[in-house]
């Protein structure tokens, strides 16, 4: 304690988000060099477009995932929500430009409902988020496989533009994703719910003692996450020109979590943000493009990704260790060191209520 008693100015250190962007920049630089060696220009229009398009889809999902993870929860159903949304959109629009608005509305409604159920199951039924959303995913999967045999519905040309138009090197979809990111950031910075998400994720008990209804932010986060996944579904539909039930097989659920964590958000909640996530997504996209330019074997990509994600998180963890030193006054090992299984925050049961 003594050493802390006097608030000596701490040496300036780069915030995690800063670190992530630093990593992004350095990866871009290295990538550019490597690509140049192969006679390609990584920052040429073609590749820029490629990177940005790749990032937009995962981007939407990861932004939503960030909110959920900030609340110390988790959503493994996003992939299935995507698939469902794309189908809902395609079947509702049924190729009729007049029904675009209707289609979008339908997607938002459906995905929001799913998010709501997720949130309620996690908070009210106290089912561990990991299981709850995994189960929800299975439920949707069963529905899709039974109801639709393969691609269904038809997206009107007008809406397909959402998937293909671009201003200079900036694809519309990527722009939309960035817009969504900005909205999410503002949401976290400017609304009470946003503040409370950090509170609940950081320490549900403290939040409760401060009069926050700990369940609300979690439910909200789940709803927003699903809606974001829904948006991703819309993008899928726009790009495919139809609804695809099989996108759920593309592993966006786990990849989004990886992106979030890569973006420096703490898997156990309460710290991090959307800005970092966007960087995380971009990092993955840049890597993908570079790998493509170098014609890296697709399976080798998996290996590299695995290693990179682990390495990155290990680095953040390192930084976390020395930080905990000054936290000795805060109740011991909250949530365990690395459980990371997204325990839903809820009021401590009676026998633990009074903290001595």
């Amino acid at each position: 304690m003594r050493s802390l008693a006097t608030a000596r100015p701490r040496p300036f250190r780069l915030g995690t988000t800063g670190l992530v962007y630093l990593a992004l920049v350095s990866i871009v630089l290295v990538g550019t060099a490597v690509a140049a060696a192969r006679g390609h220009n990584l920052l040429g229009t073609a590749n820029l477009v490629d990177m940005l398009t790749r990032s937009s889809l995962l981007g939407f999902v990861a932004i939503g995932q960030t909110l959920v993870i900030l609340c110390r929860s988790l959503d493994l159903s996003v992939g299935y929500v995507m698939a469902l949304s794309s189908v809902v959109a395609a079947t509702t629009m049924a190729g009729d430009p007049a029904r675009i608005g209707l289609g979008i509305a339908a997607v938002i409604a459906v995905s929001a409902l799913i998010g709501l159920v997720n949130g309620l199951v996690v908070t009210r039924l106290r089912v561990n988020a990991f299981i709850a959303t995994l189960g929800m995913g299975l439920i949707i999967k069963g529905y899709l496989d039974t109801r639709y045999k393969g691609p269904a519905g038809d997206i009107p040309e007008a809406f397909q533009l959402f998937g293909y138009t671009r201003i200079a090197f900036l694809p519309l979809s990527a722009a939309a994703m960035v817009a969504a990111a900005v909205l999410a950031i503002l949401f976290l910075r400017m609304t009470r719910t946003g503040y409370h998400m950090y509170a609940v994720g950081g320490d549900a008990e403290v939040a409760r003692m401060s009069g926050i209804h700990v369940e609300r932010p979690v439910i909200t986060a789940h709803v927003l996450c699903s809606v974001a996944a829904g948006a991703a579904g819309l993008l899928v539909a726009a790009r495919f020109g139809t609804g695809s039930t099989l996108v759920y097989a593309s592993g966006y659920d786990l990849e989004s979590i990886a992106a979030v964590v890569l973006g420096g958000t703490y898997l156990l909640g309460g710290r991090g943000g959307v800005a970092g996530t966007v960087a995380g997504v971009l990092i993955l996209a840049v890597l993908d493009t570079v790998f493509n330019i170098l014609a890296v074997d697709p399976f080798f990509k998996d290996v590299l990704r695995g290693v990179i994600v682990i390495a990155a998180v290990a680095i953040y963890a390192r930084r976390q260790v020395d930080r905990t030193a000054s936290r000795s006054r805060f109740a011991g090992s909250r949530g365990g060191p690395s459980g990371g299984t997204g325990d839903p925050p809820h009021p401590a049961p009676a026998e633990q209520g009074g903290r001595t």
């Binding site: 490629d50 199951v121 439920i139 039974t146 045999k149 393969g150 695809s244 099989l246 697709p298």
Partner: protein
């Protein structure tokens, strides 16, 4: 506090269960009986067409089935002919859906071998490949990347899904470079040529007809399918339903197995516990052996089975002398696209729709094909058609 929570739980669960049930398609709800293929995947005209094509003598060199074509309508490609140094080693770009199953792996090797030959001869230069790992969105990006790169003299595409890649392929066509699509099709005819074997209906029918022939009326048949929603596979099943529908056979139902041997064996074992199974229809050969083993382990006689020209199955077939047929989804089609590319870039005309022959392997040819592939690994495909390529056989053996 507790009761409402419980209610809420029940409510949520019920509503979900309901949504799930109310959307049960009749045909899948009681798979046992339903035997009219659902129109979503059944195109009667195309069906008849494919069945007819099986008996048509393909045009083209006898011993090179990958260059044969059934009733070709030639397309003029002079506009794509490269002049001057463009013609020197033109870059060909290939967007591959994936190499995530043995059939694709085998084909992919064959294609690479063919490419080497063409590169030797200078017909193509750089062969740029991107693999989408079965991710439609990824493949769309890949194709866009090719288009944006602008230096692809020809673009070969093996779509991961039919419907979803249509826009991307159209975009590729607009880029001006000749586009070659093979294996699965797309809902557009903007490409210069679409290369594929006769197709899923023929495949499914070959298998089903064989079972109908070999089995007594009233015998029971179990259908094993990989997964729903993939058109090539759905067509096979649709055709089978059509054939079985007109037969006396009693189809127990169909199961989705994801091609996983363990699941296949589980499911078959369970069906055998319920009663006899006289015939097995499969929409792809993966795990056919597992299905047969289920009979062995249950001490039941082997069924009449339709597998695929995958060696593990054919070897089992030979050893145990089973009544079987190996429908073929011609693996040698992987050679054709690169050859087509070089032809197009030389301005030679190619069939607009390049329908390759697709002959099932029957009892009669079995030994011959096993002979020819004696040294090949078990997950290799008999009709890979690469015997004359320089890399043979090593390239296919140590993959």
């Amino acid at each position: 506090m507790r009761i409402p929570r419980a209610l809420l739980a029940g409510g949520a669960a019920m509503s979900l269960l309901l949504t799930a049930c109310t959307t049960d398609d009749p045909d899948s709800a009681d798979a046992g009986q339903e035997l009219t293929p659902d129109e979503e995947w059944f195109d009667a005209e195309e069906y008849e067409n494919q069945l007819a094509q099986r008996d048509i003598e393909p045009e083209g060199p006898e011993d090179e089935p990958w260059l044969q074509a059934i009733e070709p309508e030639m397309a003029d490609t002079s506009e794509y002919k490269l002049e001057g140094e463009d013609a020197e080693e033109p870059t060909v770009c290939f967007s591959n859906a994936s190499v995530s199953n043995p059939w694709r792996v085998t084909g992919w090797i064959t294609m690479q071998q063919q490419v080497e030959v063409l590169q030797e001869s200078g017909d193509i230069g750089e062969f740029r490949v991107s693999d989408a790992a079965d991710d439609d969105n990824q493949q769309i990006s890949d194709i866009q990347a090719f288009v944006d790169a602008g230096d692809c003299e020809a673009i070969i595409i093996s779509p991961s899904t039919t419907a979803t890649l249509t826009p991307a392929v159209e975009a590729a066509c607009e880029s001006g470079a000749p586009v070659i699509v093979f294996d699965r099709g797309v809902n557009t005819d903007c490409m210069v040529t679409f290369i594929h074997p006769i197709g899923g209906y023929a495949y499914g029918a070959d298998a089903a007809e064989f079972l109908v022939e070999e089995l007594e009326p009233g015998s029971t048949v179990l259908a094993l399918r990989i997964l729903p929603g993939v058109d090539v596979l759905e067509h096979r099943w649709a055709a089978a339903q059509q054939v079985f529908g007109d037969s006396e056979l009693d189809v127990l139902g169909f199961e989705f197995t994801e091609g996983d041997g363990a699941q296949i064996k589980d499911l078959v074992t369970q069906h055998l516990q319920r009663g006899d199974v006289d015939g097995i229809w499969m929409d792809a050969g993966d795990g056919a052996v597992a299905a047969l083993e289920a009979f062995e382990d249950a001490g039941k006689p082997y069924p009449v089975i339709s597998g695929e020209d995958e060696l593990s199955f054919m070897r089992k077939w030979q050893e145990e002398d089973i009544t079987a047929i190996a429908p073929v989804y011609s693996n040698f089609q992987w050679r054709t696209p690169v050859l087509a590319a070089s032809q197009i870039l030389n301005g030679e005309e190619v069939p607009q729709e390049w329908v390759l022959p697709q002959q099932p392997v029957t009892e009669a040819e079995l030994d011959d094909y096993l002979e020819r592939n004696a040294d090949m690994p078990s997950l290799h495909y008999a009709k890979f058609g690469g015997e004359d390529l320089p890399g043979f056989p090593d390239a296919w053996q140590d993959r």
